[in-house]
């Protein structure tokens, strides 16, 4: 157990003064720790960070993202990952080291419009993010409905150790694939999908509330099997 202090901040606000370590979206100015984004500043022990409430997705290595193939080149696939950069999946990651554009047909694996669950394998400031589909749960997504939420609210949708997303999945009998880039793919019975979308909307709206899990549980529990509960 540890004490956490939360504070609403806007860019330029001094969160706290003193001997603290600046984390994400926090800058040290002399002894002041200053917020760089609109969000909730969190002070845990000597660490200060801001949980932003707005913003586009910016790729980070090891993130799982949902991508849509937008281009097939001679040596790989380009996928829209809801970011300012295009994700690149090299063909050698799929066909192995003996890949040759002459012998392998890239369209036989993924073509334009296909959805992928991928991992950001490598990304730095100089090149576009490289994707990989090696790993459990990664690969082509065969079916489902896409829902978008703000990428900054994805951690709330996932919940602590995946609690929230598992709960929604169990209560709506949907398979939910969540990309850290704010794209979510839902597959399951139609009424379940509708309820899951409503639950996700609720999370998007009330992401800053403390009792979010209970509210979502109550919302889903109060409307078992019906799609017209709201």
């Amino acid at each position: 157990m540890v004490e956490i202090t939360r504070k609403q901040v806007i860019p330029g606000d001094v969160i706290i003064t003193g001997d603290y370590r600046p984390g994400m979206f926090v800058e040290r100015r002399g002894t002041d720790l200053v917020a760089l984004r609109v969000g909730l500043a969190e002070i845990v022990r000597s660490d200060v960070k801001v949980i932003p409430l707005s913003g586009a997705y910016f790729p980070r290595v090891a993130d799982q993202v949902v991508g849509k193939v937008v281009n097939v080149t001679g040596y790989g696939w380009e996928a829209d990952i809801n970011s300012c950069f295009v994700g690149y999946l090299p063909a050698s990651f799929i066909f192995g080291r003996d890949f040759s554009p002459a012998t392998h047909d890239l369209n036989s694996r993924f073509s334009v419009g296909d959805l992928l669950m991928a991992k950001i394998e490598a990304f730095d400031r100089t090149r576009d993010p490289q994707l990989s589909i090696r790993g459990p749960g990664l690969g082509k997504i065969p079916k489902g409905d896409i829902v978008r939420i703000s990428p900054m609210k994805v951690p709330r949708l996932i919940g602590r150790k995946g609690y929230m997303v598992k709960m929604i999945s169990n209560l709506t009998h949907c398979e939910i694939k969540v990309g850290q880039n704010g794209l979510i793919v839902l597959a399951g019975p139609p009424d379940g999908v509708v309820r899951a979308i409503k639950a996700i909307d609720l999370i998007e709206q009330d992401a800053h509330m403390a009792d979010l899990a209970q509210r979502v549980e109550q919302f889903l529990g109060a409307s078992p099997g019906s799609s017209n509960s709201e």
């Binding site: 157990m1 004490e3 939360r6 860019p11 330029g12 800058e27 984004r37 707005s54 300012c84 800053h208």
Partner: protein
Amino acid sequence: MEEKRKLMDENGIRTDGRKWDELRPIRMEVGQLHNADGSAYIEFGKNKIVAAVYGPKEMHPKHLLLPERAVLKCRYHMAPFSVDERKNPAPSRREIEISKVIREAIQPALFLEDYPRTAIQIYVEVLQSDGGSRVAGITAASLALADAGINMRDMVVGCAVGKVDGKVVLDLNDTEDKEGSGDLPFAFMPNLNRVTLLQMDGLFTLDEFKQALGMARDGALKVYQMQREALLKRYFAGGVAEMSTTEEEAE
């Protein structure tokens, strides 16, 4: 410039009934436009301005991208119906210049180096114009950038000061702007206390200039409070500002 009529009566009351150090009524709202990444609407007296931000997004044309930082683009535009006589919607010399000064007033507040090879686009659209639209535009653009979630050192907030009937007054309206004898638009970053825009039109003595600068800063700080409230209202409507809890450490 010859003044055509009295802009201030013997009691120091201006044409619109304000005192010399009074701001016009101001209203701000954040996140009005759903298709932009960030947006804000501001009413600054009779000014009605929408600011929208897209980005960071892919830079086009590609040959203009910068390998180490984002390119900031800004367009200030007045709608044809924003003034008494229809304005030609093509960008005028004045609009191109104001686009440049807004961009340069905003740029110091942004961490452009956090978004290499990308572009951030700001649109400032004046729907109805009154005096001081560039500072109101800067205030709105800064709100839209915060709404778009771009890393910022500080907010940027603007306010103008001018000279009418030989007296330094805060926040000129359209009549005072056109018929007065001086205008001093000012924008700064309130927490850093750094000026990002300072222009001057007309003649001010050194003392008048110093007084004007102080007034502009005080006015801008008042606008900053409203800017702050608008952002907090958008993101934390009805929530508590600060709280402490004891809980298991989050992953």
